[in-house]
Amino acid sequence: TVGAVALDTAGHLAAATSTGGVTGKRWGRIGDSPLIGAGTWAQDGACAVSCTGAGEFFVRVGVGHAIAARIRHLGEPLEGAVAAVLGEVTALGGTGGIIAVGADGTPQWRFSTPGMHRARATSDGLCEVELFAE
């Protein structure tokens, strides 16, 4: 699974996710990636989110929409909302990772697996490419 989230200079957010799913999948199995509100979500004034991992758990939690709802209704900062919702996935037995960007351009990533292929860049000059946990 691959994903991208962005904030542009007009202040608009966007999210995108693309995947092959899991090796050996059968019966037309679909995970969270193409489900708006689960693996992919973007809402100006809240956040943009793309997920990767054990898709069934990200669907059950409705990860993308849940993170945005915590920000909008609880006023929670992006980092806390991402941590709390990934915690719900973990509590159900799922593992995976989330990338997100807030309405203020904060770049966020979090994962409960040994690693996640990830990168981020901002107009302030931040530019990172990472693979492993440490």
Binding site: V2, A14, A15, A16, K25, A42, T106, H117
Partner: protein, 169 residues
């Protein structure tokens, strides 16, 4: 106004031992995807175009589970899923189980912009690609030798997707 781009190429058993000699190629692919998206944002372009541009780079790179290099279904078919969403309007497009769209994310974008729907699936999604000039390609193009051997290993062990603890996802 500032801009931000964050991308991922999947989470899982990603350790120096598992990644091995592919680390540099993966880092370079992530950097190319980042460059493709930030080039749009730095010139005042839209977030929706930046995320699509970054994803298309990763869909074409065989190191990631999307597009070329995607995990294969039990029957050896690349069944591809993608979604895109515009935070300004909450417009969204998604495809599930497309087998011929060269860039599934481009097909999801076409669903968002050229249909009244949010999600199209399977043969209908592929027919929509044909009808709307979205680039299509033979399904075999997506299958890499590594994915073919992973599937063979899984089937030889008598398992299916969920017996391997997301090892190949």
């Amino acid at each position: 106004m500032t801009w931000t781009l964050v991308i991922h190429g999947g989470a899982g058993r990603i350790t120096p031992k598992v990644v091995g000699g592919k680390e540099q190629a993966i880092r370079e692919a992530l950097a190319r995807a980042l460059d493709a998206g930030t080039a749009i944002l730095a010139n005042g372009g839209a977030a929706i175009d930046a995320v699509q541009a970054a994803i298309e780079v990763l869909e074409d790179d065989p190191h990631f589970n999307a597009g070329r290099g995607a995990a294969l279904s039990y029957d050896g078919v690349a069944e591809l899923d993608a979604a895109i969403m515009d935070g300004a309007t909450r417009d969204a497009g998604a495809v599930a189980g497309t087998t011929r769209a060269r860039h599934p994310i481009a097909l999801a974008r076409a669903v968002m912009e050229r249909s009244p729907h949010v999600m199209l699936a399977g043969e209908g999604a592929d027919a929509f690609a044909e009808a709307n000039g979205v680039e299509t390609i033979d399904n075999g193009w997506f299958a890499t030798p590594e994915r073919i051997s992973q599937l063979a290993e899984l089937r030889a062990a008598g398992g299916d997707a969920f017996d391997v603890d997301m090892k190949y996802g």
